[in-house]
Amino acid sequence: MIELTIYGRGGQGGVTLAKLIATAHFLRGKHGQAFGVYAAERSGAPLQAYVRIDDNEITNHNQVYEPDHVIVLDRTLINPQILTGLKPDGWIILNSPDGPDAFAEQFSGWHVATVDATTIAVSNGLGTRAVPIVNTTVLGAAARVFDMSLEDVEAALVEVKFGGPNIKSAREAYERVQVKRLKGRLAAAPSAPPKEPVAGILDDVVGAMPRIKTGSWATRQPERQTLTPPCNHGCPAGNDVRGFVEAVGEEDYDRAMTILLETSPLPGVCGRVCPAPCMEACNRRLFDEPVNVRELERYAADHGQRPDPVKPWRKERMAVVGSGPAGLSAAYHLARLGYPATMFEGSAELGGVLRTGIPTYRLPRDVLGEEISYVLQHGVDVQSGRFIDRADLLKLSHEYAAVFVGTGLQDSRNLNISGSATDLMEQGIDFLDRVRQGQVRLDGEHVIVVGGGNTAVDAARSAKRIGAGSVRIVYRRTRAEMPAIKEEVDEGLEEGVTLHELVMPLRLDRDGLGPLLTCQRMRLGEPDESGRPRPIPDTSEDAQFDLRCNRVILALGQTSNLAILPEGSEIRKDGTLLGLSGAPIFAGGDFATAEGTVTAAIGSGRSGAWHIHRTLTGEDLFPPPSEPVAEPDVITMHLFNHAPRENSVMLPAADRRHTFKEVRLGLADGPDRHPAVAEAGRCFSCGVCNDCDQCLNYCPEGIVLRDGEGYRFDYGYCKGCGICSSQCPRGVIYMSEL
């Protein structure tokens, strides 16, 4: 009788190896017996399998206590314990990249055979490096030791229905196994530790199972991490989007406002006009629809109380040039850091592009006014009607401890249109400012707006409101490439604006019937440097056509006017201007970055304030590199229920055409409906634990614990099954290999 013990881990095929060895002998007319000691039917748990071979019927059904040979399938299980009961002339067959000499001390005096079965198996596609299936490979090595031929091995593999890669792998192992009798005295197994007394069923907590320390059972353990939610990552203003959404979900609007005001003074503005890159980044977009963050921000701003403003306590005075979103943000954050700030604005009223460039049907004046007022309550002085030129700026830099320049985009891009009627052209941003001041009516006029951004859509919708007979937007790419906020385009179309895609104006002339815009039809080509397909002129015969109109509004984007800056200076990437005489001058917002969104300007204003603070005090408020973003693959989507997005109530399109009343009325509460809370409840809280208890509820061992300090794992009793991790809806729990 030959007896054999195999040490391995669940999933490595130890029991099957036992069967293969027994089968190889069975096929030679012997009796064989193969079995495993089953317990944890789980990948990675240590297990033993046994083989008996004899010429006669085997009547021993006990476990093997004194094996003739041992096989160890897993490197982590190679230890002196495997010598327990091993007969002195026995072989130790190890799956190891190291040769027998590496075990000279551990297994001195023993016959040792080694083979790098993991590498051989993986190279033949048997399992992965993390979970290699090495049994058929080790069979080849064992064959050399047990005096089996390759034919025996192959016959056994065929009998147990193993195919080509297994046979190839076994053959490689057969050829590459290294065997050696190690020198020295026979190493002995350590004596077994005394058994601990068995716990009674009523011990510990009443009714609890006797607990078993998991020991080497676990090969991995759960860990917790906090990832950056993609919305937070995507917010140019740096808002804790997930955090404020959670507060809205708990109907704590004051807290939501406090969270938003940490980073932005303009939640009411952003809740209305932000293009919401957070929503584009939202992982929920891959499940049904992104969380309606913009409306939730507006809801928080409409319902939450702002905390009492702090007053400046430092002596260094700050100058902020421009009162658009960048300037307001810079002044606000400087004031919160304790600096008395003075804001210089060329116009009579504060707000910059928020006031002049965004129509009131999108951003009501009172909302803007309230948020500007909150900034000013922080002890910010205002000098309005005061345009700062280059000489003024240099002067300010001597009078103030630091200057922030956020004058936005002053120059509009033009289009090279020739013809006799170019006097009918007007820049969109100027048009919008004139509309705002009530200086223009377009009764019955036919208007063409050129461009695809928000200014184009704003101009078109405003034109409709002041009586235009028809409004057409012409854009040289297609709707999919329009930079304008999608919903704004939808709303414009609802209001009767029409969109002409793939059209570029060439000439604006007059004939006997009036003005006439000659256009070129375009088509989409290869992507340009912006990643969008490049519009190229269509060369077909009827590719040029005329459109009748009374007025052409150009909305092709704006550029910053750098004339204010001292000669020879340039804007550096981090938004600072250094090396000037006098105080440091910092630039931000569209003026410096041309990002073109309110939210980016807010973020830029805040980092300008932080730059200034760091320069003056050395204190660095910039956060350390944030945690990795919670990508969609860490979200366990199937644990969530589909739920339609809650949307804003809209002013009916018919009512919109003639007034500048706000179009979007926000998430409206009903007697039995609280859409803001429902919408906030759609948030996955990606990468951030929100105490959902899913891990605690699903842990089969009850080792996830929660107390006042949050969750922790009782690793002493964790078997590493990974259920907590697979049941974590938001990627907070991951398994680390031990």
Partner: protein, 390 residues
């Protein structure tokens, strides 16, 4: 015969499948199937078997698995299923129903410890809880014995003189999951050995009938007497079934009770399942040293072979019963049967040993200790806990 290396579970699955297949020209076969460790591979095997006229019907519980068997059997099919431990416990109501309906369903019990606390290893407490069902019970000692006994169980249970369900038990893991060499009976021989299944009281469309309705005490008493009489006919039917088995397959499975070396033995040990094979090795070794020791393989638990037992121990002074089970408040369940049978033999010491519970490995050393303890006894005592895993 096809000699193969198979697990006990696959061997059992094969035996059930070929037995079912042998009824293909009659009313076919059916298996209500619900998996549980360590029985699952039986169900897997059956699900993969291509029956000519038969179905394996997956259901949502063991209770329903037996209900499927009852329905199929009432329709005249050869019916069988398998379970373990708490699965058997959940099946109990319908096992009693199958017996009282007199349906010769074959039930494989892969012995496993009843929980909680959860334990998947062998312990006979699960099948022995069915002690009082109208159910034949066999305990197989090896893969070969298992395969052969399953065929015998169909033949005996379906015999018109018996018409009772039969349970065949094997050790969880020790037998169910161990690869051993086994001769799998060829289908043609099984076709010869097993007559078509005939359920005389099966439901027929042309004769609508109710079965199992309300009865008065008088009728119930009568039915119980009928069941007892059927049980009493089993030894004769079994003997014929073993003769026929030997005739067809050329080997003879163990009978209800096998006495080995008891003629001259002062000390007799009794066990079943794979413990018997360890016991046999120990007894052989001791006899080689000249000890007057014998053993009994108590393969059949119901009906309990009282007459065979009395005959086997006619010269014994001491009987030790190895019970891999425990009836709380009493002791070992086989021991109760032996003690009751030997009430006419006050001269014999009948001592119980509770051993290998919860799957403890009963080694030759453990059995040697038990024999030494028994030989030293002047009179019987309370059941002895022989904790092998302590």
């Amino acid at each position: 015969m096809a000699r193969a290396m198979e697990t006990g579970n696959h061997a059992a699955g094969y035996a059930l499948a070929v037995a079912g297949e042998a009824n293909r020209d009659a009313r076919g076969c059916a298996c209500g199937a619900y998996p549980i460790t360590p029985q699952s591979e039986i169900i897997e095997f059956l699900r993969g078997f291509d029956f000519t006229k038969g179905r394996v019907i997956p259901v949502e519980s063991e209770h329903s698995a037996m209900a499927v068997c009852i329905g199929a059997s009432l329709a005249g099919a050869r019916a069988f299923t398998a379970s373990s431990a708490n699965g058997l416990a959940y099946m109990v109501e319908n096992i009693f129903a199958a017996g009282f309906y007199r349906l010769p369903i074959v039930l494989i019990a892969v012995n496993r410890t009843l929980g909680p606390p959860w334990n998947i290893w062998v312990d006979q407490g699960d099948s022995l809880m069915l002690r009082d069902a109208a159910l034949l019970q066999f305990y197989a000692e090896s893969h070969q014995d298992l395969v052969d006994t399953i065929l015998v169980a169909f033949r005996v249970g379906e015999d018109q003189r018996v018409l009772l369900p039969a349970l065949v038990a094997l050790d969880g893991f020790v037998t169910s999951h161990t690869q051993m060499v086994v001769d799998l009976p060829e289908r043609e021989l099984v076709d010869r050995y097993l007559p078509h299944c005939n359920i005389p009281h099966r439901l027929r469309g042309e004769h609508p009938a109710t079965i199992g309705g309300l009865t008065w005490p008088r009728e119930t008493e009568h039915h119980r007497v009928e069941i007892q009489e059927a049980m009493e006919r089993v030894p004769q039917v079994l003997a014929e079934a073993l003769d026929e088995f030997e005739h067809v397959f050329g080997r003879r499975p163990h009978g209800a009770l096998s006495a080995e070396h008891t003629d001259d033995a002062d000390t007799v040990l009794m066990a079943c399942n794979t413990m018997v094979r360890t016991l046999r090795n120990v007894v052989t070794a001791r006899r080689d040293k000249g000890e007057r020791i014998g053993m009994i393989n108590s393969k059949m638990f119901r009906p309990f072979p009282r007459q065979e037992l009395l005959a086997a121990v006619s010269n014994a002074k001491r009987i030790g019963v190895l019970d891999r089970n425990h009836s709380p408040g009493s002791g070992g369940i086989f021991w109760q049967e032996v003690a009751a049978t030997l009430q006419s033999r006050p001269d014999v010491i009948v001592q119980d040993y509770l051993v290998g519970l919860g799957g403890g490995d009963v080694t030759p050393e453990v059995i040697d200790e038990i024999i030494d303890d028994l030989n030293a006894r002047e009179k019987a005592g309370e059941p002895v806990w022989k904790e092998v895993a302590a």
